[in-house]
Amino acid sequence: MKSEGLPEKMSFDPAGAAKALQNIAPKSLSVMEVCGTHTVSIFRSGIRSLLPPGYRLVSGPGCPVCVTDQGEIDTALSLLETGAVLTAYGDMFRVPGASGSLSSKRGEGLDARVATSAMDALLLAEQKPDREVVFLAVGFETTAPATAAMILEARRRKIRNLSVLSFHKRTPPALELLASDQDLSLSGFLLPGHVSVILGHEPFRFLAEEKGIPAVIAGFEPDQILSGLIDLALQQRKGIAKLHSVYGRAVRPEGNPKAREIMDEVFENRSASWRGIGEIPSSGLALREEFAAFDAEKKFSLKPLPGKPHPGCRCGEILTGRITPPECPLFRTHCTPVSPVGPCMVSGEGTCGAYFRFFKTTGGIA
């Protein structure tokens, strides 16, 4: 890498960046930030309050908790009722299913435990050979390789009391759906940095090349997000659509082939149900036949349960950027972080939760 000519220390001037945005594309910009981590960083750093009027940031379906279908939660709850130990990422605990949540089931004495990694389940299975341990695997291409690695390790160690309930989802098919949606009229995508670390540039090229929508891969610090927005604004002004990356220090163009290899060895694509969006073909990851012994769906003969979301809940429209949380009639009235109706309010990365915590529509703080 050429370092000549670069200043010793890059200084970052957010106010200048906001002004630059205004100068580049003075009218309007409608950008979808796909990843929940972006959503939270945008709120936490107050980026919205620095944006020129007419700039719209739309939160996309990038929070793994939020897109987990209610039927999937119900399947997990039914598994818990069998007496198995269920380990899951902490965010999943308060997501309401039809008959409660992991948190409320734990309160009733069923054995649901918070895990910080897939490996926690493997270690637990070894410690408790007389119990069936199930890992509730959610998340995108960022967490799926860790689940796959855990399954390979479990096979190596010949662990028999461990299985995985895989609700992993793939990012590109969801983006394809959103990019094809004429109603959204997006002027750009801010693409998830972490997912790109694994997938690289290739799976996102179609956004610019086939759909004609500019896209920028960005990291999660405020300077990264503002750089991404400036790039998208510049592309709009020039009337071009390209895939760029401002996250070169973490994302290689080819991604992480090793992680993808592990993922491919263990998983195969399948149709998956996304909360509020519905069925998206080949957007989910199921365990391949040779790993059937670790597949909780097969091991416990689980049938996929149809999701029956709350009739007033508009999480689906929020996840696809059609409305903002304050436009949902349940927001702040029936649906709050203490008693969430929809998953977008539960998760720390959910759009509604972020709006609730950081954003006051009346009172001048944007």
Partner: protein, 330 residues
């Protein structure tokens, strides 16, 4: 609310709701307490009581015995009272190693001795294996008020300056790191008695109110002040002292340092005229070298809420945390 959840114990909004429900029977009879860290009693005395269930019981920077004394002492200190007497209740699980228990008694006694406190009362209960996890401590502290003008939330005024006595979130981060097996160099709980560090401040007439930031952290205390007074509190992210190690743990685990528990940090509101004197006085204490002005109270909008100017110059709300952040933090 049909059952109690871990969210009710997190120190955030749900904790406040459950406390209100629990106190209802007392309040209806007109015999409920004020919602401050310690009670100011007739005759110039102050008292407080607190339970300790921390897991792990030994953590970098302290243990449950030391924590129990500090927690009680700090509740008195922020109300301007000198700690004098301690009451100590133990609930011990059958089979608990007595050697470990004696270690905690030793560290509790050492902390009391440093502060000139006497153990005045105590109780010991043993319950069958599985009925509690190891040992739980309950402490009560009693002492004399050292200031005529009471320190309380109703003193808060627009223009008051907000100060923290040290860098925030170290206890929560140390416990979280221990719980999730993260090895973080230099990360210690801030668990320490705020007395006598706060004592010289009691001479300042402009001192309005002090709070011990425990569960729920700095953010929760500020939200309580805003909601109770209806005033707007405005803070600046750049001015809040946060150690690098605390930021690291928060980044890895997805926590916000504003909500991480402290056990040796107070937030202080003072009239602008004596803000600098508060800072100068605090910085003379070895525990308060990082004391800093972090913002002020305003008459602005939105009332009853806290806003923060972010590092990049944006503006956002700071709300109380929800749900279970990290159970058994203290």
């Amino acid at each position: 609310m049909s059952t109690i959840t871990l969210g009710h114990g997190s120190g955030g909004r749900q904790s406040r709701e459950i406390v209100d429900i629990l106190l209802d029977s007392f309040r209806r009879r007109g015999i409920g307490p004020e919602m401050e860290d310690a009670a100011l009693l007739p005759g110039g005395f102050a008292m407080t009581t607190d339970g300790f269930t921390v897991s792990p019981r030994k953590f970098p920077g302290g243990d449950i015995g030391h924590l129990c004394v500090c927690g009680c002492v700090n509740d008195l200190a922020v109300r301007g009272a000198a700690p004098e007497f301690l009451g100590l209740g133990l609930i011990i699980e059958e089979g608990f190693p007595s050697g470990e228990l004696l270690e905690y008694m030793e560290s509790a006694a050492a902390t009391c001795s440093e502060l000139g406190m006497t153990l005045a009362a105590g109780d010991t209960k043993v319950v069958p294996s599985g009925a509690v996890d190891g040992v739980y401590f309950t402490g009560s502290a009693f002492g004399r008020i050292r200031r005529t003008l009471p320190l309380q939330m109703s003193n808060l005024r627009p223009e008051d300056v907000l100060i923290v006595t040290t860098s925030i979130g170290r206890h929560g981060a140390a416990i979280a790191a221990a719980r999730f097996n993260l090895s973080v160099e230099g990360l210690l709980s801030d668990c320490a008695p705020l007395w006598p560090s706060l004592e010289p401040l009691l001479l300042l007439d402009g001192l309005r109110c002090m709070r011990d930031c425990t569960r729920g952290g700095l953010g929760t205390v500020l939200c309580e002040w805003a909601e109770t007074t209806g005033l707007h509190l405005s803070i600046e992210e750049m001015r809040i002292p946060i150690d690098f190690s605390v930021r690291s743990v928060c980044d890895v685990l997805g926590f916000d340092p504003l909500y991480m528990a402290c056990e040796g940090c107070a937030v202080i509101a003072t009239a602008p005229s004596c803000a600098q004197e508060v800072i100068d006085t605090l910085r003379k204490s070895p525990l308060c070298g990082d004391a800093a002005i972090i913002g002020r109270i305003t008459e602005g909008e939105p009332g009853g809420m806290v806003s923060m100017r972010t590092l990049i110059g944006g503006e956002r709300l700071v709300d109380m945390p929800f749900g279970e952040l990290l159970p058994r933090i203290c």
